[in-house]
C-alpha cells in the first residue's frame, strides 16, 4: 500500500443523544481514490464535515502526514491542504461574480491579498486554472448565467486551485452529464498520478466502477466493509452499506382486491425507460432503490408535484393526472413526505393542528373550526399510533423525532384514502417508533392501496407485500415478499444485474 496521507482513528461524534459516528478507523492513501458509500444517515456527511473543519470530533484523532490534524474552521482545513467540494453546488460558487473571481475567491479572501482587486492578474491566473481543468469558458462570464454542470465544474476547479493534498468530493457527478463526468474523471486520474489522496462519495455505481481504487462502506456510524482487492466486490460493498442480516419479518400477504392505481408506460424523465405498475386495494407495495434511482420522482408525479414525462396513470379505472397536491388529495391520493422538518412539520401549530392540517374543512362549519371535532381526531391518532405526549395541545417541537414522525403519518391516516404514499416514513426514527408506524400502516391497509418509498431494503422487507426495485429511473425488479432472494434483490438495487446482463 502507498503511504498514508490521512489517518482517522477511533473518531466519534454525537449530536445530543444521537451518536452519528461510533468509532471510525480509516486511512486515505496518497495517489489513491477511496470511494465512500453509505445510506442516508450512515454518517458520511458528518465524517466529511469533521475532515473539512465544520465540526470537531468528540473522540479519537485524525492525523495528516503523521501530524495531528484538528481544524477548527474550514479555512484552517484548506490551509492544511484538505479541500472539499460539497454536494450542494451553491455552496461552491457565488452566482453574482464572474468565473475568474469565483476561481480565485480564496486568493481574494486571503488577508494578505491587498485592498484593490487586480483584475488582469486575476483573470490570467484564472484562465490558467480553467485550462488545466479542460474548462472551455470565458472567465468573464457571470457564474449565475451558466448551467448547473458548468457551475459544478467551477466549484471543482476552485478546489483544484488550492493545490489540495487531500481532496474530498461529495456526490460530484449528481448534476453532470456523462461527458462532463468523464472530464472530471480524467482530471481525477491526473490528480491521482500527482499523488493526491481522494475521498469520493457517491451512490452511482457507474462512477464507482470507473474511478474507485478502494471502497469503504459505512452503516449506522461505523465502517461496515472495506474492499480493496481487485477486482473490487461492488455487490459486497452495497450489501455492507445496506446491512447484512436482512431480517425477514412475518408478513401475511392478503389476497389482493380490485386494482386501484395503474401506471402504463410512465416515464420519470424524458430519457428514462417506461414503467408499468399496478397496485391493488389491500396491498402494501414498497418501492426501493438507491438515492437518485427515481423513487422521489415517482412519488412527486403521483402526488401532482411534477408532471410525468410520458405515459398514463389511472385511478380506479379513470384517468389520473393531478396538477397539484390539492388535486391529488381531492382524488384521494395522499403523500406523507420525506424530510419532515422541511416538508411536514408546522412548528407554530400544536399536535392537533399538525394532524388536522390537510382536512380542516372536515373539522369546520361555515369555516369556523370545531375544537371538539379536531381534538377527537387528534386524540384518536395519538392513541392509535402511540404518540408519547402530555396532551393533544402540546407544541410539536416538544416531541422527539420518532413522535413527530408519528404525527406526520397520523396526519394522513386520519382520513380514508384511495392511495396512500409514504416517502421514507421511517426516516430518523428509532426502532420502536419504526415498528409502531409500520404496524399501523399495515393495519389500515385493507381499505386502500399503499405505496411505501424506502431506500433501505430491510425497511421494505419489513412492511411490504410486494417490493419494486428502481435503478436509474427504470423498474428493474419485482419481488413478492416471500422467501425473497436477497442477493438478487441487492444486485438489482445496485444496478449490478443490469450491468452483468449488458456485459
Amino acid at each position: 500500500m502507498t503511504n498514508a496521507a490521512c489517518t482517522i482513528a477511533g473518531v466519534e461524534k454525537a449530536f445530543g443523544p444521537n451518536r452519528v459516528l461510533r468509532g471510525i478507523d480509516l486511512t486515505l492513501a496518497s495517489g489513491q481514490v477511496t470511494v465512500l458509500m453509505g445510506a442516508n444517515g450512515a454518517g458520511k456527511s458528518t465524517l466529511v464535515k469533521l475532515l473539512c473543519g465544520v465540526h470537531q470530533p468528540d473522540g479519537g484523532r485524525i492525523e495528516l502526514f503523521g501530524q495531528p490534524y484538528a481544524p477548527a474552521t474550514p479555512a484552517e482545513a484548506i490551509r492544511a491542504g484538505v479541500v472539499t467540494v460539497h454536494q450542494s453546488i451553491n455552496d461552491g460558487v457565488i452566482p453574482d461574480l464572474d468565473v475568474a473571481s469565483n476561481l480565485m475567491l480564496d486568493r481574494l479572501a486571503d488577508a494578505g491579498s491587498g485592498f484593490f482587486v487586480r483584475s488582469r492578474a486575476l483573470r490570467a491566473e484564472a484562465s490558467r486554472i480553467a485550462a488545466a481543468m479542460g474548462l472551455d469558458l470565458d472567465v468573464r462570464a457571470k457564474v449565475g448565467d451558466l448551467g448547473v454542470a458548468e457551475r459544478q465544474l467551477i466549484a471543482i476547479a476552485r478546489a483544484m486551485a488550492r493545490h489540495p493534498k487531500v481532496l474530498i468530493l461529495d456526490e460530484p457527478t449528481s448534476s453532470l452529464s456523462a461527458t462532463e463526468a468523464e472530464r472530471l474523471f480524467a482530471l481525477l486520474d491526473r490528480l491521482r498520478e500527482q499523488g493526491v489522496a481522494i475521498l469520493y462519495i457517491s451512490h452511482r455505481m457507474s462512477d464507482i466502477r470507473r474511478i474507485a481504487d478502494r471502497i469503504i462502506s459505512m452503516r449506522d456510524g461505523q465502517i461496515s466493509g472495506v474492499f480493496e482487492d481487485t477486482p473490487l466486490d461492488y455487490e459486497g460493498a452495497v450489501t455492507a452499506m445496506l446491512g447484512h442480516g436482512l431480517t425477514s419479518v412475518d408478513i401475511t400477504i392478503p389476497a389482493p382486491g380490485p386494482q386501484v392505481l395503474r401506471l402504463q408506460g410512465l416515464q420519470l424523465s424524458p430519457d428514462s425507460p417506461p414503467i408499468d405498475l399496478s397496485v391493488c386495494r389491500g396491498e402494501v407495495v414498497a418501492v426501493t432503490g438507491l438515492l437518485g434511482s427515481g423513487k422521489s420522482a415517482l412519488a412527486s408525479i403521483l402526488f401532482g408535484l411534477a408532471p410525468a414525462a410520458g405515459g398514463t396513470m389511472t385511478l380506479n379505472g379513470t384517468q389520473y393526472a393531478p396538477v397539484s397536491p390539492r388535486d391529488a388529495i381531492r382524488s384521494g391520493v395522499f403523500l406523507c413526505s420525506k424530510d419532515r422538518a422541511s416538508n411536514g412539520v408546522i412548528p407554530d401549530l400544536d399536535i392537533t393542528g399538525n394532524i388536522t392540517l390537510p382536512f380542516t374543512r372536515r373539522h369546520s362549519h361555515l369555516s369556523f373550526l370545531s375544537a371538539t371535532s379536531e381534538r377527537t381526531t387528534a386524540r384518536s391518532m395519538i392513541d392509535h399510533l402511540g404518540i408519547v405526549c402530555q396532551g393533544s395541545n402540546d407544541a410539536i417541537d416538544t416531541l422527539s423525532g420518532g413522535n413527530q414522525q408519528k404525527v406526520m403519518v397520523g396526519r394522513w391516516l386520519a382520513e380514508p384514502s384511495q392511495v396512500l404514499l409514504l416517502d421514507e416514513p421511517f426516516q430518523g426514527v428509532d426502532i420502536r417508533a419504526r415498528r409502531d408506524i409500520g404496524n399501523r400502516i399495515r393495519d389500515g391497509a385493507a381499505d386502500r392501496a399503499t405505496l411505501v418509498f424506502a431506500a433501505e431494503p430491510d425497511e421494505a422487507l419489513e412492511i411490504a407485500d410486494r417490493i419494486i426495485i428502481l435503478n436509474e429511473e427504470a423498474l428493474v425488479g419485482e419481488h413478492r415478499n416471500e422467501n425473497v432472494d436477497l442477493n438478487r434483490m441487492l444486485a438489482q438495487i445496485s444496478g449490478q444485474e443490469i450491468a452483468m446482463g449488458l456485459n
Partner: protein
Amino acid sequence: MQNQTILNFAIRYGFLILLAGLVIFFSVAASGFAGPRSAVFIFQSVAITGILALGVTCTLVVGGFDLSIGSVATSALMLSAYMMVVLEQSAVVAVIACLLMGALVGLVNGLLIVKMKVPDLLATLGMMFLLIGLQRIPTEGRSISTGMNLPDGSTAEGVFSPAFLWLGRHRFDLVLENLIPVPVVVFLIVGVLVWVFLELTRHGRLMYAIGSNERAAGLAGTNVTRYKILAYMISGVLASVGGILLAARLGRGDIASGNNLLLDSVAAGLIGFAVLGAAKPNAFGTAVGALFVGILLQGLTMMNAPYYTQDFVKGAVLVVALVFTFALSSRRGGGGH
C-alpha cells in the same frame, strides 16, 4: 423549575402587566388621565393606525410584509376627496372606490410576490413609491379642497358630503353624550373580525401554517398562492378603510397627512408579538400594541413631555417588545428541552 415558571409568567403576562402599570402610574401622576374622555381620546388617536396594523398583521401571519399600507391609506384619502370634490360623486361611491382601490393594490402586491417571485419587502416598497407618486398626479401635487383650481383652469365645485364626514366626526352616546367616535367603533369591529378570522376559522389556521412552513402547508394541499394574495388584499382593504376615516376626519384631501401611518402601524403589529407570549403576529396583540403606544404618548403628553420625543418613545417601546419576544422566548424554548 421555579425560575422557569417565573420566566414563563413574565413572557406571557409581562407586557399586559406593564400596560396596567402604565395606566395606574399616569392616573396617579397626571390629573385628568383617568376618565372616559381621556380614554376615548387615546382610542381615537390609535384607531386609524390600529386598523392599518390589523391589516399588516394578516400579511405577517403568512410570513410576508406589507410596506405599502401607509401609501394605500393616503391614496384612499386623496381618492375619496377627488371623487367627491372634483368628480362630485356621493359618499357611497367614494367609499366603494377607495375599498376597490385597496383591494386592487393588495391583489397586485400579492401577484408580484407570488407569481413574479419579487421578495415581499421589495414588491411592497415599490408599490409604496408608486402610490405616493400616483396620488399627486391628478391634482399636480396640490391638496384637494372645495374651490381649488383644477389643472384645466376650472374650479372644483364638489363638497365633502355630510354622510362621509359623519364617518370621521360623529360620536355615539355611551354613558356620556357624544362619547365614542365612529373610527373607534370601526377599529373595534375590525379588530374583532380579524381576530375571529385568524383564530377561529380554518382559513386563519391555514394562513398561520403557511407563515410557519410554507412548503409543508403546500404539501398538505393548502392553496398557498390564494391565501397569500388574500392576505395582501385584506391588508390593502383595511389600509383604505384607514384612509377613508382619515379623510372624513380632516374633511379635505391633504397631501401631507398620514406620513407616520406606516411606521406606527408596523410598530403596533410587531409589539403585538410580545403580548401573551405569542411570539407570532396576532390580532389581539396588535390591538394591544397600538393601545400601548397610544396610552404612553397620551400620558407623557399630559405630563408635558414635548411632542418631538414621541417617535423616540415609540421606538423604545418597539425595541423592548422585540427583546421580549425574541430573547425571552428563545430562552424558554432552550430551557424547555
